[in-house]
Symmetry: C2
Subunit: 372 residues, 2 copies
């Protein structure tokens, strides 16, 4: 494992490159903005920890008022629980009995929830939970428009009935996340997509309550759309993740009217290792930043970042700014924060800005690589 790229108290220049750096002042403003939004709109906030995979950040979010966190993987739940998080919702389907057994074996003071979208999923979950003697909250996932996991709204009632038939499983409501809507660029496109998601959640809730089963909560929403779900009157909980860090791709969205402002708070610190006639080369490539949502952008400098492969990035001047010198620091804004974080073992939290800041904390990304 890579040693920590900095120590608490280090000046920003002493951070080893490439490293993932959190500009902690911007990060805290992002958290405060989302907290204020959730409070003022009367929705519960359950941030998605697939973004940061970091128990230190999860505990920070909970201390501010989040009800807990979401994860996508049992391994993430185990890692965050080991880090002290006490309320975790696996907002995804889990089928393997071995994984369900690991989840069920978590300490009984960890409040657990999970999503299901099949009878076989419910039966395997029930078997694992029964063996453990604990209780778990179960959300039936509906396909809110993404075409990935989740049943059609009309089938939600039948699955809810399967859930309540099992001791140990508590039907907690509906998971209705429309991932495909988060990066639709225009306000109108996102409004249309979430209007449909809300309609499906409403129909699914009716399908459940028509069977005389209470539907306590509809949960979902991401950083691109949460205002719309919160305003729907149907969703009682939102699950944004990227708002804490922001990334180059989310910054390309047109903001929804009335949206809190979120700032870039996650950066890759890179360093110039070669300099030639028309370009410079930094020591950060696909192994330092994910490119599924595009290449990183260069922060505060007028360079174009071009693909240099797994270990290199190419900087080409866009205006008449001279090329950086050998050894210079170049700050990159990742295209997509979630899979970028998953490439690193540490988040270096810097207080006081990227130019003259000081390392305030080094957070282990303790759920990194927890695909299990």
């Amino acid at each position: 494992m890579r040693p920590a790229p900095a120590r608490v108290g280090d000046p920003v220049d002493a951070i080893d490159s490439p490293a993932l750096v959190v500009e902690i002042d911007a990060f805290e403003r992002n958290l405060a903005a989302m907290d204020a939004f959730a409070r003022s709109h009367g929705v519960r906030l359950r941030p998605h920890a697939k973004t940061h995979k970091c128990s230190a950040i999860a505990l920070h979010q909970v201390a501010r008022g989040a009800v807990g966190v979401c994860v996508q993987k049992v391994g993430e739940a185990l890692a965050l629980a080991a880090g002290g998080v006490r309320d975790v919702f696996v907002s995804n389907e889990v089928i393997a009995p071995t994984k369900l057994a690991r989840l069920a074996a978590l300490p009984s003071d960890v409040q657990l929830a999970i999503a299901v979208d099949s009878v076989v999923g419910i039966e395997r979950l029930a078997a694992a939970i029964q063996a453990s003697g604990r209780q778990i909250d179960v959300y039936v996932e509906i396909d809110a428009g993404q075409g990935r996991c989740g049943v059609p709204a009309a089938e939600a009632g039948a699955l809810a009935r399967q859930v309540v038939a099992h001791d140990g499983l508590r039907f907690a409501g509906l998971q209705a996340y429309h991932g495909g809507a988060q990066h639709l660029r225009s306000v109108a496109e996102r409004e249309t997509a979430i209007r449909q998601a809300v309609a499906m959640a409403t129909a699914a809730r009716a399908a459940v309550t028509s069977l005389s089963i209470d539907c306590p909560l509809v949960t979902g929403a991401g950083s691109g759309s949460f205002l719309l779900e919160a305003a729907s009157g149907v969703y009682g909980e939102i699950q944004p993740g990227s708002y804490a860090f922001m990334d180059a791709d989310y910054a390309r969205n047109a903001p929804l009217p009335g949206s809190p402002r979120f700032e870039h708070a996650l950066f890759v610190r890179s360093q110039v290792i070669a300099r030639h006639a028309a370009h410079a080369v930094v020591d950060a490539g696909h192994k330092s930043h994910a490119i599924d949502s595009g290449l990183p952008t260069v922060w505060g400098r007028n360079f174009e970042f071009r693909n240099g492969g797994d270990e290199h990035g190419l900087l080409h001047p866009r205006g008449d700014e001279p090329l950086p010198a050998m050894g210079d620091t170049v700050w990159l804004v990742p295209g997509h924060c979630d899979p970028t974080v998953n490439l690193h073992e540490h988040l270096v939290a810097v207080r006081g800005g990227l130019d003259r800041g000081v390392v305030e904390a080094v957070w282990p990304i303790d759920a990194r690589g927890r695909l299990d």
Copy 2:
């Protein structure tokens, strides 16, 4: 850190998903084919360990006759040296004095080499090496056509003179790798690109020897082009990495005439976690496989793999093959092996095929995440 997804002796069905699996029979045939090629063509083989980041595999390659391995990062050199590898070439530029000091502090029985393409790089390297009292082989990197690192051929002599001026630095030759040529699809395109690379290496060598400096070796080449460099009479060492595993992207190359045959030996074992009217969902997404060179392909089944985001993959039937059942194993061939390996902590080596094989070894990917 994720626990190992399997134990030695496990049947293949017991491997936790998603996991990275090496089909070891195919892997060994790939290694044998490259060993035989290098021997019969009179070139040294120095496989690139940026592909596998695994000291167990590096030692396997060396035991078969490789002279050592290449890496791209000092952190990779440290991790592989800790795993017992005793000959490591950092085929990349390193500028940070802290990194150079870490490299120089490796045990003296580790034979080290490094690439340089600048005076400042040479001076900083010389300072670090002098402080350590050791010797290091230095290769001047030329730009063989990729436009990334490396000097123009005509400047190689001046840098070689800088190298030989420093005690502790031994001028070992030229690094001339054309990364951009490796994935050119047609034979003619790759032949043209490598013909130019060979011409530049020849000119660079002449620039060095015209200063009465011996140029012991030209090294370079990857899995897409190594036959051409080996046939050039100029390159004395080849650096292929991907041949050991192969990936979906390399398989799209037209093979060079006379090329050894390499097989897919690296797979992601995924599992069906949801099944709906027209598609199934597996538990592997961008956090399980890199997509910089395209999505994975589905091995042995007639499904199209569509992007399901960071944690999911969508399977759509292409013919009349029925959708897989819940819990079924689906084997994926990654688009690009190097950054895919970098997402995982373990390689599960299976003997006897993917259907009924048994886990023979679990190799820690001990240089995973070594960006430093």
